[in-house]
Symmetry: D3
Subunit: 74 residues, 6 copies
């Protein structure tokens, strides 16, 4: 009966593909079966893709954060 919510950014390079989503769903469900012997039939996985502007880290929208981190590495 687990409920798993995965939140990731919707990257400009392209959204998460159906195949990748299926891989995430299978991987998380298998992990819960293996680790906690949970019933896959009542294991729900919900994937949320979040627009880049809506995701912040380091006090900045994530694209600004990445640009800053890249500049600092030069």
């Amino acid at each position: 009966m687990p409920y798993v919510n995965i939140k990731v950014t919707r990257e400009r390079s392209g959204p998460v593909t159906p195949e990748q989503k299926a891989e995430l769903i299978k991987g998380v469900t298998d992990l819960l079966v293996k680790t906690l012997n949970k019933n896959p039939k009542t294991t729900i996985v919900v994937i949320d893709e979040v627009d880049m502007d809506n995701w912040g880290i380091g006090g900045l929208p994530c694209e600004d954060y990445r640009a800053l981190a890249a500049a600092q590495q030069k």
Copy 2:
């Protein structure tokens, strides 16, 4: 002051209609008033509609899961 979050799939047959959403909001709020005597004026209900690819059950994207279940019933 309750906060209720309802997550449902965005079905191919059509999204949840405004009337259905209003019915869910009223039904949940009335339930909290009746059961816990909560104040409806500060009861917030948020409905999330999730794309089919983004919802997994039984280790599969839900449409694959439904197709498998239908095939097994034949």
Copy 3:
């Protein structure tokens, strides 16, 4: 396959009783069956009880907010 999360305060007058929780679970599930024809067997309801200090409204911890509102009504 809906997932519903209900967050309520853990009141000083006493926590939510098992009977009230069962009533909330049944009420929300019945509502989703009636409104959206959802399958109750894969409808998950999770109730979170939140300590009073951890719940804010009107910019105040909820007990301070209630005390202020009560004083203003006198």
Copy 4:
């Protein structure tokens, strides 16, 4: 390492602008640094904009609630 989720309505008057989102991300992160001395580099902020139909208060979709409140004030 905090995780902050901000849910707001997607107003008909216009969505939350990138500048406003950046201000929310910065403001919440600074608050957590000041109040709890948290590390901004591992502080994640996710902003969810919710369609008006999907947000309920007072047992009504929020636009109906606002219309009712406005009528009552006349």
Copy 5:
């Protein structure tokens, strides 16, 4: 930068052990690295253990649901 929330029941047979939690955290993080090439250093995993009374399925508190399912299988 992913954020993953895993909600599971706090079973009467015993809570999730620290070793199992570590396995879940590692497994989910590795899955996101493999599937979406995410940076583990900014991947947050939060595990919520939910009391049995607070988890509903099939319109019932989960222990009642399990008892009913077991009785039906006899």
Copy 6:
């Protein structure tokens, strides 16, 4: 009408104090008033304190992650 959820670790050095929680609630509400002109009276803030074992980063429970990071800095 915003809903804000703040998740932080319950540190061994001591839980978040009532004063700190009040500061977080006020700070977030003021930020939403200033940035988006939201009504504080219907702004809900919920703070979740998460046990250290239940919080993962870098593929590790956070205390292991911190120990590893500290060792690497020596």
